[in-house]
């Protein structure tokens, strides 16, 4: 859809300077929060590098190839010296490709996608199993209910691009999505606006890019345990918000 008005900032902002500022913040100012927008800027590039390698040919395995590409991208971001005046894409491309090739060597084609999906699911489950202090330690039903509801919210979030960053295209609903499902997803999208910035990053990177908690931890400069906590807190908030609306 055409925009009726172009924002004044759009007239002024230069893409190369936006990126320069992020590198200055990450490298010189030690602001680890600059890592995530840099990752977002190049996540599509990383996927395209993986895709151009021609592996894997089957859609079922592409999730793993993406993961290896993201792994390479994260390593490239952390080892890049912006003062060497080499474009980041040129620096990162061989590292991303190398990471994908290493991944291929480590994995069998048959198990690749399944193992990645299982890894993500295990992390989510573990995160949701962590108890709140207010929980009755003996109430297994309460625990199971929380896990089931959390997993359901996670299922809705996965791959829907509800939480796409500014750098990515708008989400377009699939024509095969049912009306009810899409309406729920829209409510979920609105609920995400109420999460805090760190929770949004965790949800975006884990469900949209499929990063593991360890990778998100690298991205945000936090511990894996903290990412797990943020994940659980975010899903709890989303679940409560959806429940209020029904």
């Amino acid at each position: 859809m055409n925009r009726m008005f172009r924002r004044g900032m759009d007239l002024l902002v230069r893409s190369e300077r936006v990126e320069a500022l992020l590198w200055v913040r990450l490298r010189f100012d030690q602001h680890s929060d600059a890592r995530e927008p840099l990752f977002n800027r190049y996540a599509g590039f990383a996927r395209s590098v993986a895709r151009r390698l021609g592996y894997p040919s089957r859609e079922a395995n592409f999730k793993d190839a993406e993961q290896w590409a993201y792994e390479g991208l994260l390593q490239a971001i952390d080892s890049f010296d912006p003062l060497r005046r080499v474009p980041f894409a040129a620096f990162a491309k061989p590292r991303i490709a190398g990471s994908v090739r290493d991944g291929i060597a480590r994995n069998t084609e048959v198990d690749a996608q399944r193992s990645q999906q299982r890894r993500l699911e295990r992390e989510r489950l573990q995160s949701l199993k962590e108890r709140n202090e207010a929980d009755d330690p003996g109430d297994a039903i309460q625990l199971l209910g929380r896990i089931a509801a959390g997993l359901a919210v996670g299922l809705m979030l996965e791959g829907t691009r509800l939480i796409a960053s500014d750098d990515e295209p708008d989400p377009a609903p699939s024509p095969y999505d049912s009306l009810a499902w899409r309406q729920t997803q829209m409510r979920l999208g609105a609920a995400i606006a109420n999460l805090n910035a760190s929770e949004v990053i965790v949800i975006r990177q884990h469900y949209e890019h499929g990063l593991t908690f360890a990778q998100v931890a690298t991205l945000m400069g936090l511990t894996r345990g903290r990412i797990s906590q943020l994940h659980r807190a975010a899903l709890t908030k989303l679940k409560k918000q959806l429940a209020r609306e029904y």
Binding site: F5, R6, G8, M9, L11, L12, E16, L21, V24, P82
Partner: protein, 190 residues
């Protein structure tokens, strides 16, 4: 007790600026050498930062501009330039923060008006942005390159129409021109 910072000779600085204006290619190295000799001269850091912006080395330019403002907080054109760099890097909040002390300039000062106009632009107040930027141009009789840069921005704002849905237009604002115009007029500080 801290002594006065050793500053580069004005003539040497003017000569360097003139060389940059002529398009000399090795002047960055000369600026680096002068900075090694006069590390506390804010003008040299500003000159270096502006040269780096001019050749697209933004990652190095930003620390140089920051250094200039850190060494000379009253160096108004350097402060304006740093804020403008941050604004064009998408960080409007930081730009406004850097520009804050420029509000202490006399009312009607062109830099204060330019900041006001750009602030309107950030808020999508396009009519007011044009009015105030125009007022800044009228008030500025010492830095012609900066006026040209602001005119470019005004032209872009005027080109905005509901049917124009192309991606962002990047005004060809010459950061180096800001410096060269200012240093040439020997008004480096306020």
């Amino acid at each position: 007790m801290m002594g006065q910072p050793r500053l580069c000779d004005d003539m040497v600085l003017q000569e360097l600026v003139a060389e940059v204006e002529r398009g000399a290619t090795d002047e960055l190295e000369r600026a680096d050498r002068l900075i090694a000799e006069y590390p506390e001269d804010a003008r040299l850091h500003f000159l270096r930062g502006s040269m780096l912006v001019g050749i697209g080395r933004s990652i190095e330019a930003l620390p140089a501009l920051r250094k200039a403002v850190e060494l000379a907080p009253d160096f108004a054109i350097a402060r304006f330039q740093l804020g403008f760099f941050l604004l064009t890097s998408g960080d409007a909040a930081e730009a406004l923060s850097v520009w804050g002390p420029l509000a202490l300039l006399p009312e009607g000062h062109y830099l204060r008006l330019f900041v006001g106009g750009l602030t309107h632009l950030i808020r999508d107040e396009f009519g007011d942005a044009i009015l105030v930027l125009d007022a800044g141009i009228a008030a500025n009789d010492e830095n012609a390159p900066l006026n040209r840069d602001m005119e470019l921005i005004i032209d872009k704002v005027k080109m905005l129409t509901p049917s124009d849905s192309n991606s962002a237009v990047e005004p060809d604002v010459s950061a180096t021109s800001l410096l060269l115009g200012q240093l040439s007029s020997k008004r480096t500080t306020h």
